[in-house]
């Protein structure tokens, strides 16, 4: 067997996908050929590195729900989001421009008519429920690589951020979207199996309502409930922080304090943010 022939089978040899005769022939060649032996080792090394270190992107819960809807709904009832369709059919932009204008007018009216914080928190609760379903029973990972990956995807500084402690552990962190803003999203689980999702996003344009403030030590975040979940909203370090939790009104302050205190910059000389 010559090198060119052997190299063609190296990947299959490492995966045990060669027949007995070919395995013997390739192994025989590799034993006497330093170059092919190095290539065989490279194949194994790179494969092991890729499997161990390349991040796996998980489909967002909203996409999961959309695809599930597509598969399970009868053909006549399938609906695709219009913005998605528009992105995939850019040549039709002219045709839908008029509809777009109407939609913008409608969206403007809708945004004035509704409470933006209510819409944001409703959406956040739905996202939280989706994340919980997704990460349930997932083992506790090492937070460092997760945060490193997130850092490369988010274009605003979100650290320092609560990375978990013996009572509450960080299960996952990912990029999300809330009210048209890209978010750094963190999902935590406590010892009782209850989940808390923290959304961080640039604070510009987000107004924390003055009413319904909860006094937690010296902090006063806005508190509300939605669909049985506790929500806390506050601003700190130019960011808006939205915490959605399975914990009730008596328990959520402790979680808030973990998140809030971990978010302080390390230097004592920096001014503290608003709460």
């Amino acid at each position: 067997m010559v090198c060119a022939e052997a190299r063609e089978h190296l990947a299959d040899l490492n995966r045990g996908q060669l027949g007995a005769d070919l395995t013997e022939a390739v192994r025989g060649h590799v034993a006497g050929c330093a170059s092919c032996r190095a290539d065989l080792e490279t194949d194994a090394d790179i494969r092991a590195l890729v499997r161990a270190q390349v991040p796996r992107y998980m489909a967002p819960p909203a996409l999961h729900a959309r695809i599930e809807g597509l598969i399970t709904q009868p053909a006549g009832r399938r609906r695709v989001a219009w913005w998605s369709w528009l992105r995939l059919h850019p040549w039709s932009v002219g045709a839908v421009a008029a509809a777009g204008v109407l939609l913008v007018v409608w969206a403007g009216w809708f945004s004035r008519a509704g409470d933006p914080v209510s819409r944001m928190t409703s959406r956040a609760v739905a996202e939280h429920a989706g994340y919980v379903k997704k990460v349930m029973n997932r083992p506790v990972p090492d937070p460092a690589p997760i945060l490193r990956e997130l850092r490369s995807q988010v274009d605003f500084p979100f650290e320092p951020v609560f990375q978990g402690d013996p009572q509450v552990q960080l299960i996952t962190a990912m990029v999300g979207e809330l009210s048209g803003k890209r978010t750094a999203t963190f999902v935590y689980r406590d010892a009782g199996g209850r989940y808390t999702t923290l959304f961080l996003m640039p604070g510009t344009g987000i107004v924390v309502p003055e009413g319904d403030r909860m006094l937690i030590e010296t902090f006063r975040p806005h508190y509300r409930t939605a669909s049985g979940r506790s929500l806390l909203l506050w601003k700190h370090r130019d960011l808006a922080w939205l915490l959605v939790s399975d914990l009730d009104k008596t328990e959520v302050p402790a979680m808030y304090l973990k998140v809030r205190k971990a978010a302080n910059p390390p230097s004592a000389f920096l001014p503290s943010g608003t709460s």
Partner: protein
């Protein structure tokens, strides 16, 4: 038979994360990746009558995803990057000195993950996809050939060359 009479097997949903993962590597943007996956499922639903039960549903969906990616990119007037073979040879060092070299190893703190990700992003799409399909998704060479619509020999040679390029790019992490 049309798509209304032939539903897509429910098992198709279980491949969503894997499809989204490849879509992220192809499209490089979360929103575009979501669109790509959604369009993939729509096309799969429309073509469900062409799928033969008992054959490889996962490979079939990946094939649709990749074809959809190229169709959409052409439609948008964008082409996936194509790299000059000579540049590839220089990157992989296939014409350079050969022989026994140090084996690769990542540092224990996981920083090689970032470096490896960056290195993978530098690979031409056809090479990157072969690596991801072979190593992350565990497809066989034959399945990858079907997904990428090329001969098995081409898949093997792309994988071999991709390994060599990655090794070069990751040389800082050699012991």
């Amino acid at each position: 038979m049309n798509d209304a009479k032939t539903p897509l097997p429910a098992e198709a949903l279980s491949h969503l994360d894997a499809l989204y993962n490849l879509a992220r590597w192809l499209a490089r943007d979360p929103t575009e990746a979501e669109d790509l996956v959604q369009e993939t499922y729509l096309r799969a639903i429309r073509a469900a009558h062409q799928f033969q039960p008992g054959t490889n549903l996962r490979a079939w969906l990946f094939q649709i995803l990749r074809n959809t990616f190229f169709t959409l990119y052409k439609r948008k007037g964008r082409e996936p990057e194509v790299m000059d073979p000579e540049v590839l040879d220089r990157m992989s060092g296939v014409h350079g000195p050969t022989g026994v070299e140090h084996r690769l190893a990542g540092p224990p703190d996981g920083t090689a993950g970032l470096d490896l990700t960056a290195a993978l992003k530098r690979l031409p799409e056809a090479y990157r996809s072969v690596v991801l399909l072979a190593d992350v998704e565990d497809f066989s060479m034959g399945e990858i050939a079907r997904i990428m619509d090329c001969p098995v020999g081409t898949v093997k040679s792309r994988l071999f060359r991709a390994r060599a390029i990655l090794k070069q790019l990751l040389r800082d992490y050699r012991r």
